[in-house]
Assembly symmetry: C3
Homo-oligomer: 371 residues x 3
């Protein structure tokens, strides 16, 4: 059996600072019900949390866990009625009520744990930077990174080992590229962009002209432009445009092993969950959500705020504001009814046969159909 002890990121030498529940409530503009003097050291899931841990409930589904949690404090929704929760008399619950408990808890996580600490600014002597490349102030460039001719790297960028930035690519300030990310030639990356390990930005689009039995490669002379505050998951692939640019709008967050085809134009603040695939030249509006494993055909236009359920197959344009599901994608409510009915299909066929038999009884044998 492996040693499945709960582990936290804090190294042995990183001391977490204790804060009172009152202090945390002030930090997120919440209201304390219970013991505001309790000291909190750490954020933790509701099931594992102990007396010096803070946790949260944002979904009514998990409300019942409030009766058993040992958490020192729980961030809850102001609108949530948790009066029915039964607790032992000697273990009263302390909560912080706030309008957006998930965001409030996130603010506490940032306060207590912070984001990952990166190495101090340094350009490793073991990396390979072309003489014409421009490196901003206070960057960390790890060993075994390459930066090609005419690249521009913004201030305070963090490039982990094995990151390869090809000719003429540009990164805005404050980007973090994790190990073994490849940024192809002439791609433009905005500010504060995070790219997880192994992602490929700007590899060649899948473009071939088939002529006399041979698939001839079409030069992919465009690039990829990632807007500010984009995050790209591990081993995700964003193809460069055949001509012009594949665009990812600012604030869009992309999961792992996603593929965005060449010449796509993805809007702002989209959520593209892991393993989504979008074929070439498709576009999305702002605030689109594509759940895991969704597929989008080529040359499709998806409007603003469209949300697609996991594994949907989107084969036609979708108007703004719609929730969809299924393959081919349909209205989400219809999809739920269709897929519920799917279970009944063999039964439906049986009932139809029974009805046909009764009809034959009444109506007599049908000439057009062998009885």
């Amino acid at each position: 059996m492996p040693e499945f002890s709960s582990a936290v990121r804090e190294p042995a030498d990183k001391t977490l600072t204790a804060r009172t529940v009152n202090e945390l409530a002030v930090h997120i503009g919440g209201k304390v019900i219970g013991d505001g003097q309790r000291r909190i050291l750490r954020c933790c899931g509701l099931e594992s949390a102990g007396p010096t841990d803070i946790s949260f409930v944002s979904n009514i589904k998990y409300l019942s866990q409030l009766s058993t949690t040992s958490a020192g404090c729980v961030v809850v929704d102001s609108k949530l009625d948790y009066q029915s929760i039964q607790r032992p008399a000697n273990a009263p619950l302390t909560v912080i009520q706030v309008d957006d408990p998930y965001y409030g808890f996130r603010q506490i996580m940032v306060l207590i744990h912070g984001m990952r600490s990166h190495p101090k600014p340094l350009i490793s002597p073991l990396c390979d930077i072309a003489p014409s490349a421009q490196i901003g102030a206070d960057c960390y460039i790890a060993p075994f990174v390459t930066i090609g001719e005419n690249c521009k790297i913004g201030d305070r960028c963090i490039l982990y080992s094995g990151v390869q930035i090809m000719t003429g690519a540009e990164l805005g300030a404050d980007c973090v590229l994790y190990p073994n990310v490849a940024v192809y030639d002439f791609c433009h990356i905005g500010k504060r962009v995070i790219i997880q390990s192994g992602a490929a930005i700007g590899c060649d689009g899948y473009g071939f002209a088939t002529h006399e039995g041979v698939h001839h490669k079409i030069p992919q002379v465009g690039n990829v432009i990632l807007g500010d505050d984009v995050e790209v998951g591990a081993n995700t692939v964003i193809e460069r445009a055949a001509m012009e640019s594949t665009l990812i709008g600012e604030g869009t967050k992309i999961g792992n092993n996603v593929v965005v085809g060449h010449n796509c134009q993805i809007g702002r603040h989209n959520l593209l969950v892991s393993q989504v695939g979008i074929a070439g030249s498709s576009t999305t509006g702002d605030y689109v959500v594509l759940a895991g494993q969704v597929g989008v055909a080529g040359h499709i236009r998806i409007g603003d705020r469209v949300r697609a359920a996991a594994q949907s197959g989107i084969t036609s344009d979708i108007e703004s504001g719609r929730d969809i599901g299924g393959t081919p994608a349909m209205d989400f409510k219809l999809a739920k009814r269709v897929y519920l009915q799917l279970f009944q299909l063999p039964e439906l066929a049986k009932r139809l046969r029974a009805a046909e038999a009764k009809l034959a009884d009444i109506h007599g044998p049908d000439d057009k159909q062998p009885s």
Copy 2:
């Protein structure tokens, strides 16, 4: 807002040569209708193209764009009737008519923009090459590449940073391996093969013999053979054979995040689009097209020229020449009818209930079924 300016790959110092429409028409064997003296600098999409840009239309669906495009010239299908297109009198259209406009346009792209320029031949002093490895003439081997014992690298190969070639692997002439590609031991790669970043060629097949509750790893002692002119997308995985070889036939083009299982034998000139997954020991004929996210079960035989629609699930052998779709995959035309009908399923169930009610009226209550 990110700076979403259209960007092209050409660096500042690469001057594009202007060519007349007549020159381009001669190059692709086409016929000019309009002003053959116009000067063209660049290839561009129809919507963004300006007076010195050339674009193309191969699909009648986009024909209407010819009335509004500002492109200096458009490559069109000889068979296409574009006489109905209305243009302002002062902005007449100039076109080049050709039998295969997509291929013709590709030829113009190659003429004007060319394929990617790679660094000049050089073996970086920062790479690690085993003494017994043989490196062909005029290769570019970037920093942080490793080449293992007894490897053979053909002439004029380009190996970008982070490429790892393990013991005994062989590459034919004129291959391009982008950053962080791994070629496992004893794999054979043909001539003119292109492998995008992060792809894994010849990692262990997923083979385990489960015995007394433990999954015992089966040695994967075969390899992968990629034919000439194969292209492999970013972060794609091709497993080595348990015994003998996993084969990819010449001219086959594979997208991103595809998985080809061990002992598969993929035919020649296949198109395996992004996120396709093929389980172990399956085979395909020549000119097979598997669209995005298609899944193929193990030990399946797919004939020549089979085309499978996106997200299909192929669970049985498919004869040559068939178009298929759906899960489990069925004839494509049937699949279209089935998936169209799917939307109607709740309605169908409702109508059946109505018919049953009428039958009960006529027929009287059925003993076998509660009314």
Copy 3:
């Protein structure tokens, strides 16, 4: 045409030792029927095997191949009746009968071919190891590997080129990490773990709190713990927990391009086949099998020994011991009937229309419904 010669991993200088069929039978506790003195050099597939090769049949589906194989010996199931197999008189079959032929053959593969030979223990002078990192005895650390502060690497670990081990991560003894694997900070990896190239262990979980139109990144302060004897496929991604740990139980084998979301708890001895995607906080019991491209929603509980067919979409909890299939996942037998019926859907609709027409004949026009 590529040179599609069968290739084996053995380099020119690795001599395989010949063994008699009798010796091999003793090794796996099997019974020889035929010529026990035959000399066997190599393991091979049944179709390609020659007189000095040994092969196997574990599935009755391939039994007929026994009549044509040229294999020197075939490992077969003791319970298999192969008496009906017709063979030429001058080419009698030699078999080894054993209770578990797949495992028996695997044992012979290990005896004859062994697992991959790795380079001898060495710490390359071209790698970058932090002073505070602890490296066990007899490790091979390739060029261009980085190992961060406070990492611990167990004895006899093999780290291929481009592997990046970030701050505070720990590996147990006898692990093999293939090229360009990234292990993020503070992750714990058990003993004898194998990770294929490009996999990302412990990248940030996909966690964002959307507040006032912005997706705010939630610090991912947990880690990933891989149990002993886990294998992870190429370009697979296992997200670190937001808090606490994402767990993979001992003996679990994961294919290529799989995504395991943050805070998942995967049981022991699971088989997660290529391209499976599991959303955050889901759990599986022991001996679960998820076939290729299966998707699992977030916060789902899957019991022990559940087996899901390829491409299934699991959207609700699944009890132990169930076989499931389809989207949304249902009982596997029902799924087979449903998907068989799916082909008939247009026909079903047609028959319903016919029944309705007959009813209208009998019943007269229905006021509620336009005729």
